[in-house]
Subunit: 210 residues, 2 copies
DNA sequence: GTCAGTTACCCAACATTGGGGTATTCGTTC
DNA sequence: GAACGAATACCCCAATGTTGGGTAACTGAC
């Protein structure tokens, strides 16, 4: 039944790759290519007609809009679509930018027949297809820094700062004097090489200290 | 060659499960169980002797230390070990706490022979074994909120706040007056229902606004 | 017994922030 | 063309935070 097939949209500027994706996807009984475009702008224009369940999105696109920006807009205009990024790179910044933009999967252009279809199947059943390397990158990104320069108490106070607590509130909550909070915070600033609360929070987030 | 087998350590209080894990792991030519303990404390005591490459760690352990705390300590004392969490729950908070603690994989106790061995293989080759559901949870955690109440400019300013910039620095960087920065920040506070910078950053992080 | 961590206090000048306003300009949308 | 959201800009004032020095006692781990 064509009606029960998942509607796949392909955004890829290389005609050969796009065509080979079309052939592979259409070869499955579960999926059906509803359209293929060479730019995000085109794809976005026809979203309401194409009604995609899954979007295979090239990251490196010529012209105005790359796949990351495109994914954001598609997610905004058609939130039910699951987006799989297709790229030649597994560069860490690019991967995280892609994931932030709303992609739920990440495969490389070198993906063969089986890999492409299994990514589609994986995302259909609510998973998040990605390579081993990317899975590990993503997981590593969660790990809190085991080499934090901060003491336990300092980490605790940093946590309270991140909740917007003032010196006074911190001292009340931890049953210590206001001056002690100040001492701790001064020490935190020195260790993190920052000089205000919000910067400390930013640093703590980027270095995974809390 | 036993010397080339990856050294697997098992921490699991249920003797039956532990034994069945031992049998499965030892049935592989790639892996070898070096020891099995019913508590983290025991496992930690013998780390230097066991020298594990991979730790299969139960989260729900009786007594003083659960698997999350245990993972932290093991990662601290024996950083080269890759930790796979074994649990009955796929609850979101628990998963994220486990990942923060240093685990690189997450499987359920219902894992069968094949699933257990493939998790070990996956982690051996630098991947991060996890179920479809957890992979998606993890990926979803990266997505920035598409329904942010903040305008583009407000988001931009929030970003600068998270870098520790003062009103003055923000106004200089954006070529606007100090008072305008203040106005934007006041509006941000109102929208996020906070009343200071650090709290705004904490909220922005938890709601994925930046 | 030493050392790190936590606690606590002092002073004082200076900068920043938060909370309350008001108001203009510029697009977009209705 | 009116209404609206967004961005811009200004005013005042009290409260809070930061800088930049310090000193010192207690505790628990190694």
């Amino acid at each position: 039944m064509s009606e029960n097939k998942k509607r796949v949209l392909i955004v890829e500027d290389d005609k050969e790759i796009r065509n080979s994706f079309v052939v592979i996807v259409n070869s499955s009984s579960q999926f059906n290519v509803v359209n293929g475009y060479s730019s995000c702008e085109e794809a976005i224009k026809h979203l309401n007609a194409d009604k995609p369940d899954i979007v295979l999105m090239d990251i490196e696109l010529p012209g105005g809009m790359n796949g990351i920006k495109g994914a954001k807009i598609i997610k905004d205009k058609w939130p039910t679509a699951d987006i799989i990024m297709v790229t030649v790179y597994e560069d860490s910044d690019l991967v995280f930018e892609a994931l932030k933009s709303g992609a739920s999967g990440y495969i490389t252009k070198s993906a063969n027949y089986r890999e492409l279809l299994s990514a589609l199947e994986e995302i259909s059943k609510g998973g998040a297809p990605m390579s081993s390397k990317i899975a590990r990158m993503v997981i590593d990104n969660f790990h809190v820094n085991p080499n934090s320069p901060l003491t336990k108490r300092e980490t605790e106070i940093l946590q309270l700062i991140s909740e917007g607590k003032t010196y006074t509130q911190i001292s009340e909550q931890l049953f210590i004097s206001k001056e002690t909070s100040k001492t701790h915070i001064k020490n935190i600033y020195a260790k993190l090489q920052v000089n205000c609360k919000s910067e400390a929070i930013a640093k703590a987030n980027s270095e995974k200290l809390i």
